[in-house]
């Protein structure tokens, strides 16, 4: 019998090790798997390479990515919009390395990883600092650049310049869904979908928290936003546990 429902968040993040590459869904406050991130922090996991769109500013109680950054659990951050003082402080002091990726490219790289592709060409960022190289990936302690982004491969296709981008294959994904069933089928709600299905597709192991976990019934096949084979563990969020 297939049953991916776990009793609590701690049980789901048990395998996440120091140094792991972890993709995390969410955009702003919408669709951030805060319970899973809390569970990760409570396990005291460190040296993570986090892949997430935002720096996590503005979440109630500064939960989410902000907490991971504030507790210095992140060594490398792949993101498009890391706006959060907790990040910038650590970036300019050399504590955290950045891989700044245009948002659409970040989404597509996760999808490419999930789809088993070797990479793709996108017109995005062609002729900019994020493709031509030179952007500061890491500072030294004293604020001088230590590591610069190398120039990316580009190619002219039908007269237009495209940049080569490689797939992302994180070890783990932490995602937040609205509904889940025991097969791991997920359904999201409005803007909370964002990067969640993509992170789940890309990762070798995907952990989902869901507001509503159906222990007996299942989602209608046409209502599934992300099918179960992309999901390994499901846990109900505190929201549901509280009821």
């Amino acid at each position: 019998m297939i049953d991916k429902i776990r009793p609590d968040a701690a049980a789901t993040v048990d395998g996440v090790h120091d140094g792991a590459v972890v993709a995390i869904g969410g955009f702003g406050q919408a669709g951030v798997p805060v319970d899973l991130i809390d569970a990760l922090c409570e396990r005291d996991v460190r040296d993570l390479h986090v892949i997430a769109n935002n720096g996590g500013q503005g979440l109630p109680g500064e939960r989410g990515i902000g907490r991971l950054l504030r507790e210095n659990r992140v060594r490398r951050f792949s993101c498009s919009f890391p706006v959060n003082p907790a990040f910038f402080e650590r970036y300019f002091s050399g504590e955290v390395e950045i891989e700044l990726v245009p948002q659409g490219t970040l989404a597509e790289r996760l999808r490419a990883g999930g789809a088993g592709l070797g990479g793709f060409y996108t017109p995005t960022a062609a002729g900019t600092l994020l493709a031509d190289g030179g952007f500061v990936v890491r500072y030294r302690e004293h604020g001088e650049p230590e590591k610069l982004l190398p120039r990316k491969e580009s190619r002219v296709i039908d007269g237009r310049t495209y940049v080569f981008e490689s797939p992302l294959r994180p070890d783990f994904a932490l995602v937040k869904a609205h509904r889940a069933d025991r097969y791991g089928n997920l359904r999201f709600r409005f803007g909370a979908r964002n990067f969640n299905p993509l992170a789940a597709m890309a990762a070798r192991t995907t952990i989902a928290q869901a507001d509503h976990v159906d222990h007996t019934g299942t989602l209608d096949p046409d209502d599934v936003h992300l099918p179960g084979p992309f999901v390994d563990h499901v846990v109900a969020t505190a929201l549901e546990l509280a009821r």
Binding site: F27, G104, R193
Partner: protein, 218 residues
């Protein structure tokens, strides 16, 4: 000179040029005021980069945390709204299905270059701007004519890192409207109380003057 449009008036001015049925992405900053503008007789589908379409003004009542714009402000979903993941959202953008995107800017070059993501030495954060700039059928910029230090933002060449090369179609500032006509930056309109002469010292870029007479809405 104290003439010039407020942020809300600028949004009103841009909204006036939108066409019925357009699918329009609104970037962070001033463009987020667009869905607040009524567009009588025109139905506009606003697109938010993270995966929403059909976004409307801020809610009158309790905000829904799952319904926000690209700036993470609460909005509403109108008739015809759709939700999707971020890869589909940017497929809409890069795939040419956005009639328009409206972006804020730090600088615009007279060659149509756009710089809107990084002040050298400042905090980096690119978001979806680079995807939108290369993907949308039209790119309009909505910005103040001068930066906070009083420097012109319309430049001969951008000095800040670029978002996209030669991508801008129009520029709406608090003082004027410019359009790239056959690749040439062209002054189309001055804000009420602003004369073409006023703009000369405030604009580093070279531009043609070919004014279009049209009333600025009240």
């Amino acid at each position: 000179m104290t003439a010039g449009l407020s942020r809300a008036q600028l949004a009103r001015r841009v909204a006036d040029d939108l066409e019925d049925g357009w699918c329009v992405n609104v970037g962070i900053g001033a463009p987020l005021l667009l869905p607040e503008q009524p567009t009588p007789g025109k139905e506009i589908l606003y697109h938010c980069e993270h995966g929403l379409l059909g976004v409307g003004p801020a809610p009158a009542g309790e905000p829904d945390p799952d319904v926000t714009d690209a700036g993470k402000n609460p909005v509403t979903l109108l008739d015809g709204a759709a939700s999707f993941d971020s890869s589909l959202s940017f497929a809409i953008a890069r795939g040419g299905r956005l009639d328009l995107c409206v972006l804020g800017a730090l600088q615009v070059g007279e060659n149509g270059d756009l710089a809107n993501w990084l002040v050298p030495g400042g905090n980096p954060g690119v978001g979806g701007a680079m995807d939108l700039a290369v993907g949308a059928r039209r790119v309009w910029v909505m910005m103040t004519h001068l930066d906070k230090r009083g420097n012109p933002k319309l430049r001969k060449r951008c000095t800040f890192p670029l978002t996209g090369r030669g991508v801008v179609d129009r520029v709406y500032t608090d003082l004027a409207v410019f359009e790239f006509v056959d690749g040439v930056l062209t002054l189309r309109e001055c804000a009420p109380g602003v004369t073409p002469e006023d703009l000369v010292p405030l604009t580093e870029a070279t531009y043609r003057i070919d004014l279009q007479t049209r009333g600025v809405p009240a």
